[in-house]
């Protein structure tokens, strides 16, 4: 195991930067410099954004390289923003700024004011009347005027509670090939990653479109936060994958000199290997304060190694597809008569089995930009407070159009989102709200919260004046496995 280098720089919370701190001004200047570079230059703004995704043709080196819906999501994006940070830092220095510039992160999960877009990104012009390079008008209505992300969309709490990395209901996603969009999204990639992309981008904003997302300057602060969540999860004693297929997989990028560079996942599993760390006032003191390499080694030696992921067994599924158009919708999931006893057993607290809710074969011509809360056995007309008790997780559709119709040279993939509802179904069982013969699943759109309204986690979005572009859910199924 290579020795990590000591952290030398710290990425800071964008909302708690000291008054007069130049970080965001320097970022804005660097964005302007990068935008002024020829589009063919690999350190230009548009080239960097195209490395994530682009509709432009012909394909240039390293374009459309992003990795989503699988276990390479976290390491690829860590490398991507690491080299982007170097490119921005060089531009900051070129403009006479700090050689120690670091990318700030947007901790929307902290709630309150931090759940709103930072002020520096909201206004089209700067105080002197000049154009604000950090402003993008192509965002969801309300984002640029201070509407907040609800905690159901922005909270990383569920993802951080996942005990292992590899798996579709676990922290980092299921095993996947090297493709832009596979079908094995993990917990942190779904919420908050995909959900925040959708909530900030809305129906036609850049952030909701993987081919344009990285052109919005807030993209990079969003991904710094996702990277911080990985840092935090690892620092809490969890283990990264040990499978050589993950560890040895390498990806290529351009550094600040425009030179092509390569890194393997094993080289970036800890931020200390790349010479940075995060300030995190809310981090748990004891485990997170330890050197991460040491923590990982301890966790591995104390049995933190992930067991092989078993294939869960289908117990029941909806009979017909469901279409989502921006309004609440529900579907029944009848459980097969020979599986009801298995399901009844699986929800008992003393049974080791897990119960999963799988949203299968998600298909859409384009991402409607809506985030749906997914609820189990939710009574009709339930209040947001009541809904929280039935919440299984979310589903949103960032990248769904690219999974079925990939731009890169790869096969298409079906998209599905899976939630572990073992604990939820146990709670519903205890409350007498669980029937092992039939499960009722409700989808409710989660809206942005205007500045003058209370930040209810599960506030239902107002019905759109025009229906959303439709999303088809091919099937909703209930599965069980160890």
């Amino acid at each position: 195991m290579p020795q990590p280098s000591q952290p030398t720089v710290t990425r800071r919370n964008v909302w708690t930067l000291p008054s007069g701190d130049p970080t965001l001004e320097e970022y804005a200047e660097a964005v302007a410099i990068m935008r002024a570079r020829p589009a063919t230059q690999v350190t230009s703004w548009s080239y960097q954004a195209a490395m994530h995704g682009t509709v432009a043709t012909p394909q240039k080196p390293l374009w459309n390289g992003c990795q989503h819906f699988g276990w390479y999501f976290l390491p690829w994006h860590r490398m991507f923003i690491y080299y982007f940070e170097q490119i921005v830092r060089a531009a900051v220095v070129q403009a006479g700024g700090s050689p120690h510039w670091t990318l700030p992160y947007w901790d929307y999960g902290a709630g309150g004011q931090q759940a709103t877009l930072p002020h520096a990104f909201r206004h089209a012009t700067l105080s002197g009347g000049a154009h604000n390079p950090l402003f993008v008008s192509q965002r969801a209505p309300g984002i640029n005027t201070g509407s907040a992300l609800s905690s159901a969309v922005a909270s990383p709490a569920h993802a951080l509670s996942r005990p292992h990395y590899v798996g579709v209901t676990l922290f980092g996603g299921g095993q996947s090939p090297v493709v832009q969009f596979d079908g094995a999204t993990g917990a942190v990639e779904q919420t908050p990653h995909n959900d925040v992309h959708n909530a900030v981008g809305g129906q036609s904003g850049w952030m909701a479109d993987p081919d344009r997302a990285a052109a919005d300057p807030i993209f990079w602060l969003h991904h710094a936060n996702i990277d911080r969540l990985w840092w935090k999860w690892t620092g809490a004693g969890h283990s990264n994958p040990t499978d050589p297929a993950w560890r040895n997989q390498s990806f290529s990028f351009f550094d600040a000199h425009g030179t092509k560079v390569h890194k393997s996942c094993v080289d970036v599993r800890l931020t200390a290997q790349l010479g940075y760390t995060y300030e995190d006032a809310g981090a748990q003191p004891s485990p997170a304060a330890q050197p991460q390499e040491e923590t990982e080694a301890m966790s591995a030696s104390s049995g933190g190694e992930q067991p092989p992921e078993p294939e869960p067994e289908l117990l029941g599924a909806s009979e017909a597809p469901l279409q989502l158009v921006g309004t609440p919708a529900a579907v029944g999931v009848p459980i097969d008569h020979r599986s009801t006893s298995q399901l009844a057993r699986a929800v008992r607290p003393d049974d080791p089995s897990h119960v999963y809710l799988s949203i299968d074969d998600i298909d859409a011509e384009r991402n409607p930009g809506t985030v749906y809360g997914v609820y189990v056995n939710l009574p009709d007309g339930a209040s947001p407070e009541e809904a929280e008790r039935h919440h299984a997780g979310n589903v949103s559709f960032f990248g769904v159009e690219r999974a079925r119709n990939p731009r890169a040279d790869e096969h298409p993939h079906s998209v599905r989102v899976v939630h572990d509802i073992t604990e939820l179904s146990g709670r519903l069982q205890a409350a007498g709200e669980w029937d092992p013969q039939h499960v009722h699943v409700t989808f409710r759109p989660l809206g942005l919260i205007p500045p003058d309204e209370p930040q209810l986690a599960h506030a239902v979005a107002e019905a759109p004046s025009e229906p959303d572009p439709p999303v088809t859910i091919g099937r909703v199924s209930i599965l069980s496995g160890d």
Partner: protein, 251 residues
């Protein structure tokens, strides 16, 4: 390019298929090897059925005994199974994991049967049409068959068909609609697979030496369906087939 492509897909293929699927693939390819080793009998059947490419399997001293259309057809189905089923294993797995346990075996058997029936239907068509070219010059037929395969490899229709092999729709869970759903999926998947590989299979059938092209076609089909970078793989395959067409003409 061919070496890089082969190295590029070998590891993901091994990762994509679990141990049981790799064992099935090994079994099917062993069957293919047996079929190729049994070339003489197939050659007679093929000749009688008007398939000149199967002459390439003929060995010196092979006896002539009862070659029939039925034998050629059976050989075709066995070869199609050995060549095509490894690439269809992910689709079969989709059927298995998305079926209730009590229906699982029946569902997978239904999928495999319908999928192979699609290839059998294509085989019947080829065997029925084969007399049209059986009397022509073998070299010209080989070159033409390989050239047709090259041309198809490079068409958008081929790319669309290959994509279709990877679409896995949800399956109804219970009752007659569950069986109908599996049949529908197998028909769609089989049609996409035939659409992607028909020219390759025709080339294998018509070009000589057939054993060589059978092995090449098996590698191409598996790489295209299970490996990464399908466009690059399809182009590399086209290059291989074009080189084959030139070699056949030159030799």
């Amino acid at each position: 390019m061919l070496v890089a492509t082969a190295a590029g897909w070998a590891r993901p293929v091994a990762r994509l298929l679990d141990r049981r699927q790799l064992a099935v693939t090994a079994g099917l390819w062993s069957l293919l090897a047996l079929l190729l080793a049994a070339g003489p009998r197939m050659a007679h059947a093929g000749r009688d059925a008007g398939m000149p490419g199967m002459d390439g399997m003929a060995m010196p001293g092979s006896a002539s005994s009862g070659p029939t259309f039925a034998v050629a057809f059976a050989a075709w189905i066995a070869m199609a199974a050995a060549m095509m089923l490894p690439g269809a294993l992910p689709a079969a797995r989709h059927v298995a994991v998305n079926s209730l346990r009590r229906r699982r075996r029946r569902a997978v058997a239904t999928f495999v049967a319908v999928y192979l029936a699609m290839w059998a239907a294509f085989g019947l068509l080829v065997l029925a049409l084969a007399p049209l070219w059986s009397s022509l010059d073998a070299t010209a037929v080989s070159a033409a068959a390989l050239s047709l395969a090259v041309a198809w490899q490079l068409t958008p229709a081929k790319r669309r068909a290959l994509r279709g092999c990877h679409i896995a729709p949800p399956l109804p869970p219970r009752g007659p609609s569950a069986t109908a759903g599996v049949v529908r999926f197998a028909l769609r998947n089989g049609a996409a697979c035939v659409g992607s590989c028909w020219a390759l299979m025709l080339g294998m059938t018509a070009a000589a030496p057939a054993a060589l092209w059978t092995v090449a076609a098996t590698g191409i089909v598996t790489a295209e369906k299970l490996g990464p970078r399908p466009r690059r793989t399809a182009r590399a395959a086209a290059a291989l087939l074009a080189a084959g067409a030139l070699a056949v003409t030159a030799l």
